[in-house]
Subunit: 345 residues, 4 copies
């Protein structure tokens, strides 16, 4: 059994890791930590877990000591030191935060107002989006930068077209809509039930921190610098992100070519379901699971590709993908513990 430690277990991503690892046949939770709830049981914070996980929150140090792999779900800026400790102790470190996601320190400074404390450490990190960068992940690096939620679904929606050069890389628009859990467990006025329920709005328009991360991924696929327009919106639902991505189809490329490219690109990807023509990706159909549903559409009149991708922001957009990365690193079947079936309703 892989011994799994979770740092920041009482946040939403941490709690979701607990849910998923508990069902994993080859891994078990060895220890959990939380600054806010140190000494308390996880099931006091989340009564859903009574009798399922009644572990007490320990210190980070104890978690590191007791575990083979450490998942960190921390506010950005707090993972770098922990990563250094884990690397030193030869533990695998999977970071659900943003500290290691951007390869460019300049971007990190611009968007997060932070710095790379140890540049060598950052070189040991690999970006953990398996469907696009599996080979890198397999190479056994010890730090995994687990992608964010928007930065998983937006690239997956458009990856085949970008990778194969079927669309223009200029002018790509990612209009994304996320459920509320993406904003975390801490109550705020904006997430207070009566102010969000029956509401809908964009936020951080063209200024959200996930922008450079989406661009980093698409630039790698395109082999050149890609700039995107990214606009997130807040949906009055608990879970799920739908990314609606727009791109101009290149002159001479047919939509049939694009359709074929998507099917080919994802044909061996268990977690990506390219939907049959005529269907629309819906967050309703992937909730609680690690699936990414993709539907592609042709605006014939403007000759644009419109690709919709739906993921559960807490699973494929956070905890599930982190476990997928763990499975890869530990040489397990990638879907071990992740075959949760999305409820039909």
């Amino acid at each position: 059994m892989i011994k799994v430690g979770i740092v920041g277990a009482t946040g939403y991503a941490g709690a979701e890791l607990v849910r998923l690892i508990t069902s994993h046949p080859l891994a078990e939770i060895s220890a959990i930590s939380s600054v806010s709830f140190h000494g308390q049981k996880l099931s006091e914070v989340y009564p859903a877990y009574i009798n399922i996980n009644d572990m007490e929150c320990e210190t980070q140090e104890e978690v590191v000591e007791k575990s083979d792999v450490i998942f960190a779900a921390l506010p950005h800026g707090l993972s770098q030191e922990l990563a250094a400790v884990c690397v030193e102790k030869e533990k695998t470190f999977i970071d659900l935060g943003a500290d290691f996601r951007l390869e460019s320190e300049e971007d990190y400074k611009e968007w997060y107002d932070g710095e790379f404390l140890d540049k060598e450490l950052h070189k040991q990190a690999v970006y953990g989006l398996p469907e696009l960068f599996r080979e890198n992940i397999k190479k056994g690096k010890k730090i995994i930068a687990n992608p964010g939620c928007y930065t998983t679904c937006s690239p997956l929606a458009i990856a085949p077209a970008v990778k194969l050069g079927l669309v223009e890389t200029k002018g790509i628009i990612c209009d994304c809509k996320s459920g509320v859990t993406g904003a975390g467990r801490k109550p705020s006025q904006g997430n207070h039930f009566p102010e969000l329920n029956e509401g809908f709005h964009a936020y951080k328009v063209a200024s959200h921190r996930h922008t450079p991360e989406i661009e980093q991924t698409l630039s790698k696929l395109a082999g050149k610098k890609v700039t995107v327009t990214f606009v997130p919106h807040l949906l009055p639902v608990n879970r799920g992100i739908l990314a609606t991505v727009y791109a101009d189809i290149k002159h001479g490329v047919t939509f049939e070519q694009i359709t074929n490219a998507y099917e080919e690109f994802y044909k061996d990807e268990y977690f990506v379901r390219v939907l049959p023509n005529g269907m629309n990706a819906d967050i309703h159909n992937i909730k609680y699971s690690n699936y990414c549903d993709i539907s592609i559409h042709h605006d014939k009149r403007a000759n644009k590709l419109i690709a919709c991708a739906a993921i559960d922001n807490m699973v494929k957009g956070a905890a599930g993908q982190a476990i997928q990365n763990m499975n890869i690193i530990f040489g397990l079947d990638e879907k071990t513990g992740l075959t949760i079936i999305p409820p039909a309703f």
Copy 2:
């Protein structure tokens, strides 16, 4: 008192007309009709209206006979004959359906598979989007084609920039999200509570009938043919549409120019609230009211204008706007009966 008749009163748009006209100080409901509920009281269909409107549904003929103005909320194709009758009897006809919205019969054929039964009649119709075409409406024509919901908020979001030539008209994208009432009162699998709640998806991607109507309006503003990409999505809320509209800012135009243009363009429009910089239009803030809230944003990196417009699809997107048109035609203050305050929560 203006005598108002409502044909199709038991559909959602009809029921919303009843709510609004009942509070109108200078109009009163003279008669209502419904094919499905003929002979029944409106308050049997909508118990919210018990003691408020217990009128029985009569025939279309009776409604026409008893009224100065007839509002029709009918499935498309059914308004043309009724309009002819009203014109003949010198009644004002305000059509909440689609029959008179498109000026091009060709477009009507393509998108609605219908035809103009009487071409002369269509020439008497005017498109009732007051903020953009008030002068036409004032000219006293007898048939008003009341715009659809998406076709109100999408053009209002981008109108100042298009009208003043501040953005490219090529490549405009309208990514819209609508509450469920937009789909009407008839139950369907897709609107069955458990299949829509906690879900979100696009539908009729780049193929929705409101596309040519949005284009017609923007083409008039631009003075040339405009093609748009229009993608509607279904929100798990009762009311409200948010349109997120993307356009490339023309070379040499500053965002400040655009901001000024919006403020100037809408400065005398009671129902349009251009929000202060930094705020985001939210359907939460205009529910049950005739307001259209607009926030504009600058993607500096891609130099795009991103304009968000929020309306209540049943009010400014249907019944409220219809009454606004009535007020104009009858020479009333345009906001009479429409100063409903959106609840803060």
Copy 3:
């Protein structure tokens, strides 16, 4: 015009008073106050009110000075001093808080851990549930204790039966379900969207502070001490309370007698709609309005009366009822400004 001041205008009850007074034809808001948002505009706190109410929050003193009637929506304990000031200045004071609701200081101590600062002042207060105590309110006292939300719908549900002695007063159960706005504007973990959405639970079971208030009202109606079992639950909706009240029908009393009693009791009450046999009171049908819908049902097998009452907790359960009281005191038609029609959806 009656000059209305609102103390605590940025809480939910205060904001709802603003919505309603703004539409009141014979009253106008003269000043508002807020401790948390002093100096800020109300529309900065509630963007729904932009262009509708952009007043700045002043001090309590300024509000009192500028107003004929002062509505206070304050945490309990803070109204007594303010009431004294208003009485001294001969202003009408309508308290939406709990300070003056209980006539028994002993009860107030037990349930609120507070005391009556000035016992004479309390004698000047009258309990403002118009349908049950209109004559008292009319007597022109200067302090109105506006009932709470649960304490409006629970007594209204069962009042005719209790008043006329048709049910046993022993063993009455009020199983109530309230929307989230009842818990106020302040964010908390329990009202954080993801933890409440798709959830439902009871809280403060048989220990909620509204218990003695419900009992006080029913005791007055019965002419003897009544004890009730009161269990509130939290509904994942913004507004509305449904009270399901159970009582044993007295031996020899028929359900027809009870039905007749309800119709007779409420026949002149504009805001109470006793629904036709076979219908169920639904919070859906009274939202945003001052109506209280009541349906009564007979459990023939256990010979119990089951009465359901639905109100909007922010209107008939708070701000609307407060205005109803103002109308009575100022000699206006009781429904002035309160004929808001509940939306049908």
Copy 4:
């Protein structure tokens, strides 16, 4: 592997069986049937199941032929013939419908307007509420009458107190609130999203068919005829039932006795979690799982026991319990395949 056939697989209970059996390590779906969708794939009806279950709907006969155990999720009245066929072929028949739940044909006639086609067959049926009647189920009868949703949580809420004679059996009230999936997959006006969302109401007050079934269970526990008052309400959530059950505590019984009784009664029951004092059972915490959370409360003033029980109506209230019964009959660990963890949000 146990070969499982599902008759009526495209209804909500059937679809939920598919979700659960697919994760069951010792059972597999051999065939499914549906009258409405014969010949279609299940994943066409429920796109959530694409790549997970793409089986085609066959006939009932084929399902019976290919399976060791047949789960039937059919409208009442249709199970009796199928049960006869299964018994003849020596297959286990687990009925999620109502045909075999009531032991009294008289009750069945009164509440369902049906009759027992074969009285001998009914004698072979056992009522499958394992926590209360496990020994009967183990006896290996071939027909299991799987309880309904309300009829699982209401008795579980009060069972220890009734069984041990700690409360009066006269006057028990079950005030229940159910999510919408309880009403099934077929769209109706009442379950149309805009008419149910933000609404709440009671229905079938004191006349719901689950009444005699609750009474049958409680009567068995009490050893005498028990009559209850049962009022169901419709919650605007997808899943979950909360039963709030009221009973008079017997003279001389302390609440501590009751608390101890609950803990003792359920101490070996994996799926029942008696919550610590001070907590409230919440449907939020058991969604998608087979748990039944119970909280008990004391109304000291009226000396009543108030017990709240929360279940997922589709799992413990339908498909999960059916599998629990299968596990018992086939001699498996009762929780096999049912250790689904309720998501924390």
